[in-house]
Symmetry: C2
Subunit: 136 residues, 2 copies
């Protein structure tokens, strides 16, 4: 029975234990954060951080923050895999460029809207005021 | 003379050699990318990557890309220091939230502008058409 359980545990080893070719059971502290389904992502993270750094980051986070910490570790690993030179900085720069583009677009749009409103005031709003004055 | 040169090199050890308490001279491959002035940033990066990973990232980058790679390594170290749980992912999520806010603002602005233009058409453009017809 014990052997069968161990076998099952090995088959369902978490990404970290699979990477280190270790047995994985319910006492494994990495298993809740790095399931086998994220093995290739874990490998990306492992390449740049190493297991000890990953464990250290998880250990210094509060228990309810460990899932978020694991997610950030996998994101950095994936980013470095996709862009070995720039890693996350490539994503950050891309997003910053997108923000600058949107801010420029918004600025132009505001100018258009101001012009449109000025024109609207010139065209439409003077007439009712005049009418009201005449009526008084 | 040799001792004096070594002394000078030690005083100007790059961030990596300073961190590892090694002598640093003009043959040091880390010195161009991690000057002593960025020592504390290097320490942040060292804590999560370790020297061997940093060297590996630099080595796999083309020579003209190594400065960019070093910058990304320091950025990730700083991000993890500032936000030990989320690291760069915290920055990425913040920027994504900023983008969503700008896109919402832009969408609203576009609706305002459309309304303004529709009103402008209703108020102003019909009259010149009538005048033109009368003139013909």
């Amino acid at each position: 029975m014990e052997n069968r359980d161990q076998g099952a545990a090995q088959n369902h080893a978490c990404a970290s234990c699979k990477q280190q070719r270790r047995k994985c059971d319910e006492t494994c502290e990495m298993a809740p954060y790095f399931p086998a389904s994220r093995y290739s992502e874990f490998q990306n993270a492992h390449k740049i951080f190493g297991v000890s750094s990953i464990q250290k980051i998880l250990a210094t986070a509060a228990p309810d923050q460990r899932q978020a910490a694991a997610e950030s570790i996998l994101t950095e690993g994936n980013a470095r895999k996709n862009d070995p030179v720039h890693g996350c900085l490539g994503i950050i720069r891309g997003l910053n460029a997108q923000i600058q583009g949107l801010e420029r677009e918004l600025h132009i749009m505001k100018q258009h809207l101001e012009l449109c409103k000025e024109k609207e005031e010139l065209d439409g709003k003077k007439k009712p005021i005049k009418r009201r004055r005449l009526a008084a």
